[in-house]
C-alpha cells in the first residue's frame, strides 16, 4: 500500500473512537506490535532526543525498501512509533522523503501530546526521513 493510503487507513481507524480514552487504549494496544529493535541496535546512537521517554529507532534496507525497528520504555510512545512504522516501513526511500506527515494531527492525538512529546515526535519523523535519505544515496 502507498504511504498515503496507510495513513488514511489509520485516520479512519481512529475516527471510530470518540473518547480520548478509547484512542489511547487502542494506541497502547498498537504499541505491542512494534517490530522490536534488535538488542545490538538498541544503543545510544539510535536514541531519539527530545522525548521524555527513551525511544530507539533503527532502519535497514531490504531490496530498495526501508524497514524500521524501534522500542521505547513508555507504552504510549511505543504506540506512536508503531503508527509511524506502519506508515513508513517497507516503503521506498523516495516515497518516505516525499510523504506528508500530517496524519498524526488528523488522528486528533497531537492535541493530547505535550510539546516535549511533540518535539520528540518531530525528531522521530526527522530521524525516519534521515534514514530514508541515507538509503536513497546508497541505493
Amino acid at each position: 500500500m502507498k504511504i498515503k493510503d496507510i495513513q488514511n487507513q489509520i485516520v479512519e481507524e481512529f475516527d471510530i473512537f470518540d473518547s480520548w480514552m478509547d484512542k489511547y487504549e487502542y494506541l497502547i494496544e498498537l504499541g505491542k506490535s512494534v517490530p522490536i529493535i534488535s538488542p545490538s541496535n538498541k544503543k545510544d546512537d539510535n536514541i531519539i532526543k527530545g522525548c521524555q521517554s527513551k525511544v530507539w529507532l533503527h532502519a535497514d534496507s531490504d531490496n530498495g525498501f526501508v524497514k524500521f525497528y524501534a522500542d521505547s520504555d513508555a507504552v504510549i510512545t511505543k504506540g506512536i512509533i508503531s503508527l509511524l512504522i506502519r506508515a513508513f516501513s517497507n516503503q521506498k526511500p523516495k516515497d518516505i522523503i516525499e510523504a506528508k506527515m500530517d496524519f498524526i494531527d488528523k488522528i486528533g492525538l497531537r492535541q493530547h501530546l505535550s510539546p516535549n512529546r511533540a518535539n520528540g515526535l518531530n525528531n522521530m519523523i526527522k530521524k525516519i526521513k534521515f534514514y530514508a535519505i541515507a538509503f536513497s544515496k546508497t541505493d
Binding site: 480514552m21 489511547y24 521524555q52 521517554s53 513508555a74 507504552v75 504510549i76 493530547h112
Partner: protein, 407 residues
C-alpha cells in the same frame, strides 16, 4: 486565616482554577514548577500599565516618580518579609537562576585553583550548572554532599568535606524533586566556622514557610516570584551587605553606574550596582502584591494546611499497589515524587492529564537525584494552599484508571 474554612473564597481568588479540561475541573498539582496567580496580582499588572507605566529612577516626571516609588516599595516588602537589615540587601533579578548566576559569576574573583566549593546531590540544575561553569573558569573543585535512601543529606559526610580550602557552600532549602527540607541551619553554622560563605536556594522554601535571613545568618538567599503567587520574570536575591559590596557587578548598563567615561567607569551603590538596565518594573511591583497576598493568608497557616495535604496524599498514594515514593524524610514539604511499579512516569502523566490533572513527570531538573535512584524520572505532585483533599481523592481515582489502561 483558617485555610480549610476559607478554601472556597481562596480558590475564587485564582481565576485559572475554574478551567475545564475534557469536561473535568482542572486539578493543578504542578505548583513546584510555578504557582498560580491571584486576581490582585493580575490586576496590579494591568493597573501598572494603565496608570503609571514609566521608566524608573531616571525621570523628573510624575509617572516615573510614582513607578519608582512602587518599585522601591516592593523592595521594602521583601526586606521586611525576610527580615533583612536594609533594602540594599534586596536585589531584584529575573529569577532564581539569574540570582544564582549573579553570585557564582562574582565568585570568579574570590576563587583560586584548588579552592573547593560544596554542593549537594539534591540540587536543581540551576544550582549546579552555574557553579560548574565557575569551576571551569577558576580551577576550583566541586565537592558533592551525598544523600541517603530517604533523600536526606548526609550531614556527617558534609562535615568531612568542609576544610579550609572550602570557599562557598550552596544547597537548596527544599529539594524541588523530593520535597526534603535540608538542615540549612547546621550547614550555615558549620560553613561559617571555617570561613566559607553559604548560598541557599530557597525557590521551594519561600512559598511554604517563613524565612528569617537574620536568624539564619545566611550570606545569600535566592528565590523566584513566580512560585510565590507572583508573575514570571522576577527573582529575588538577598545578600548580606558586606558580601554584596565585595561582589563585582554582574551586568553592565544603565542605572548600575555612577560615572561613565571611556577612560573610567565607577559603579553605583547597592542595590543599583546589580540592577543594570530597565528592570521588570510591572513584575517587581506585582511580586510585592503577591507577597502581600501570601502574608494575608499567613505562612504559618499555609505550612500547617499543606502539611495536612501532604500527609493525606502520601498515605492515600501508598495504598495504591506498586506505588513507590521517593524522598521519605520526616522533614519535608509540599512535594511527593513517586512511581508505580514498572510503569513509565510519562505514561501516567499523559493519561491523567486527559482527566484534567496537571502533574509533572520526568527528572525535574534534578538529574543527579534520578541517577541516584537509577530511574528515568518520577511523577511529581506539589501542593499550594489552594489545593484540596477532594483533588487528592480525584487524583487517586485517576491514577487507578491509568494503571488499568496501562496494564
Amino acid at each position: 486565616m483558617n485555610i480549610l474554612k476559607n478554601i472556597e473564597s481562596i480558590r475564587n481568588d485564582f481565576p485559572i482554577l475554574s478551567t475545564k479540561v475534557n469536561g473535568n475541573q482542572l486539578v493543578y498539582f504542578d505548583n513546584a514548577a510555578t504557582s498560580q496567580t491571584p486576581n490582585c496580582v493580575i490586576d496590579s499588572i494591568s493597573d501598572y500599565y494603565k496608570t503609571l507605566n514609566s521608566n524608573i529612577h531616571r525621570g523628573v516626571h510624575k509617572l516615573s516618580q510614582l513607578a519608582t516609588e512602587k518599585y522601591e516599595n516592593s523592595r521594602k516588602k521583601f526586606k521586611e518579609h525576610l527580615n533583612a537589615n536594609c533594602t540594599s540587601e534586596i536585589i531584584f533579578t529575573s529569577g532564581t537562576t539569574h540570582s544564582i548566576n549573579l553570585v557564582s559569576n562574582g565568585f570568579i574573583e574570590f576563587l583560586n585553583e584548588g579552592d573547593e566549593i560544596i554542593v549537594s546531590q539534591l540540587e536543581h540544575h540551576s544550582n549546579i550548572v552555574p557553579w560548574q561553569m565557575l569551576c571551569e573558569k577558576t580551577g576550583a573543585v566541586m565537592k558533592v554532599i551525598p544523600m541517603n535512601e530517604q533523600g536526606e543529606l548526609k550531614v556527617s559526610e558534609f562535615l568531612k568535606l568542609l576544610n579550609n580550602k572550602t570557599k562557598i557552600v550552596f544547597i537548596n532549602h527544599v529539594s524541588n524533586a523530593l520535597g526534603t527540607i535540608n538542615p540549612i541551619e547546621t550547614v550555615i553554622e558549620k560553613s561559617h566556622a571555617i570561613g566559607a560563605a553559604v548560598l541557599i536556594d530557597g525557590a521551594q522554601a519561600a512559598p511554604h514557610f517563613e524565612i528569617d535571613v537574620k536568624k539564619l545568618n545566611v550570606d545569600f538567599y535566592v528565590f523566584s516570584a513566580h512560585k510565590l503567587c507572583g508573575p514570571t520574570g522576577v527573582g529575588i536575591l538577598y545578600g548580606k551587605k558586606e558580601w554584596l559590596e565585595k561582589l563585582p557587578p554582574y551586568q553592565g548598563g544603565g542605572e548600575m553606574i555612577d560615572e561613565v567615561s571611556f577612560e573610567k567607569t565607577t559603579y553605583a551603590e547597592l542595590p543599583n550596582k546589580f540592577e543594570a538596565g530597565t528592570p521588570n518594573i510591572a513584575g517587581v511591583i506585582a511580586s510585592g502584591i503577591g507577597l502581600d497576598y501570601i502574608n494575608s493568608i499567613g505562612l504559618k497557616n499555609i505550612k500547617e494546611y499543606e502539611d495536612y495535604l501532604l500527609d493525606y496524599a502520601t498515605s492515600k498514594l501508598k495504598e495504591i499497589e506498586g506505588v513507590k515514593v521517593y524522598g521519605e524524610s520526616k522533614n519535608k514539604t509540599s512535594v511527593i515524587s513517586f512511581n508505580i511499579g514498572e510503569i513509565h512516569p510519562y505514561d501516567i502523566g499523559s493519561l491523567i492529564d486527559n482527566l484534567g490533572i496537571a502533574v509533572r513527570t520526568g527528572q525535574h531538573c534534578a538529574q543527579p537525584i534520578m541517577d541516584y535512584f537509577n530511574i528515568p524520572g518520577t511523577i511529581r505532585i506539589s501542593f499550594c494552599f489552594y489545593n484540596t483533599i477532594e483533588e487528592i481523592d480525584f487524583l487517586v481515582k485517576a491514577l487507578k484508571k491509568a494503571i488499568k489502561m496501562l496494564s
